[in-house]
């Protein structure tokens, strides 16, 4: 069937027809990928991490930031493999520590846009402390948490975002640990911009990411993107497309949520999408400029 269709429309282009080099030129997004890198990515077929990557590139592109001005910092995990595919300054660090490395980098280079890309385990299990401290200090870093509700890379152990009662390889009888409310935690810790969306709402992600990167202060974007390979399989949630549909169906916008009567709010089980916080506080590096001024002014 398909061969026929191919010929009929001449629209579906296989590698033979578009040289690799040309493909990278066929969109702004693709042009920011690393031509030297092997594609497709290492992610499972249908994994939403790649969708977040697309959104991130579009956000950076939208802001008109030069590739050289961007530093991507990641820890370890499926999500953390994202930076290597993009033509920025990319630093793949140790599990959980992306924000701590990013802190050093940002202080050394306040002019650069430093973006940390983390899985939920990376950001919130082993990396939880750096997460709250980087927010508190208000480093002008954009933290992206791809929340796939599980540890993907290591094969499906429960994470601090696995919903209650769901199964994981280390929760064969169902998870009993309540998940973190990631956005609320970030707000309590001091983040200046906090938003959440899903990979189904990819263009919303574009927008939140662009706002987050533009923000002068610590910003967090939580991107829901279920790991169908582990979380989905262990909980019989179906294929990537089924889980994508559940992201579509099981979220509610913050605007809609805010309009709900209190009882319904309390019983709401959908994920709330939207921007939850956008406040102004002088970022760490600007504060530090004052320290330097005081030190050099001789005041002690």
């Amino acid at each position: 069937m398909s061969e026929h269709i191919l010929t009929a429309h001449d629209l579906d282009v296989s590698e033979g027809q578009i040289p690799r080099e040309n493909w990278f030129e066929s969109s702004e997004t693709l042009s920011k990928l690393r031509k030297s890198k092997k594609f497709p990515t290492i992610w499972c077929s249908g994994c939403g991490i790649g969708i977040v990557m697309g959104a991130l590139i579009r956000a950076i592109d939208h802001l008109g930031i030069k590739n050289d001005e961007v530093a991507l910092v990641a820890g370890i995990g499926c999500t953390a493999r994202m930076p290597v595919y993009m033509d920025f300054n990319t630093l793949h660090t140790t599990h959980g520590r992306a924000l701590a490395f990013a802190t050093g980098l940002k202080i050394a280079r306040p002019d650069m846009h430093v973006i940390a890309i983390m899985g939920d385990g990376d950001a919130l299990a082993i990396g939880g402390n750096h997460f709250i401290h980087t927010a508190r200090r208000n480093l002008d870093i954009t933290a992206i948490v791809v929340n796939n509700a599980i540890y993907g890379m290591t094969g499906g152990q429960y994470s601090p975002t696995t919903p209650l009662d769901k199964r994981a390889t280390t929760a064969p009888y169902g998870n009993i640990e309540p998940p973190f409310p990631v956005c609320e935690l970030a707000i309590a810790a001091g983040a200046t911009y906090v938003a959440r969306s899903t990979v189904y709402h990819a263009l919303e992600l574009d927008k939140f990411l662009a706002e987050a990167i533009a923000k002068d202060g610590f910003s967090l974007v939580e991107a829901m993107s279920y790991c169908h390979t582990t979380y989905g399989r262990l909980n019989k949630f179906g294929k990537a497309t089924d889980m994508m549909r559940s992201l579509k169906d099981n979220t509610i916008t913050k605007t809609a949520y805010d309009k709900l009567p209190p009882e319904e709010r309390a019983s709401n089980t959908k994920f709330v999408r939207g921007m939850f916080c956008n406040i102004d506080r002088l970022p760490y590096t600007s504060q530090y400029d004052k320290v330097i001024a005081r030190a050099q002014g001789g005041a002690q």
Partner: protein, 89 residues
């Protein structure tokens, strides 16, 4: 779950279903076969049924190019950046 803040909800720029199909294709859908992993996200969510899954090739193919409204759902949601939609202007 999340407490109210003073900030307004952003608009979602492009709701895929919000754009009704007009006559003739509005865009060209290009799939880079080598990168497509056959996840079928584009196939399942294209509101116009432009795309289909070719079992034998284990990847997506364009089956109804003329229906494309250039809504960009497929290229913004392809996890492998294996689709580009070019809007006809």
């Amino acid at each position: 779950m999340i407490e109210a803040t003073t900030v307004e909800q952003p608009n979602i720029a492009n709701s895929p279903t919000a754009q009704p199909a007009r006559k003739g294709p509005r865009g060209q859908v290009i799939i880079y076969a080598k990168w497509c992993k056959g996840c079928q996200i584009c196939v399942e969510f294209c509101p116009m049924g432009v795309l289909a899954f070719a079992q034998d090739l284990d990847r997506a193919v364009v089956v109804a190019a003329e229906k494309c409204t250039a809504c960009h759902f497929c290229d913004t949601h392809c996890p492998d950046l294996a689709i580009v939609v070019k809007r006809f202007d």
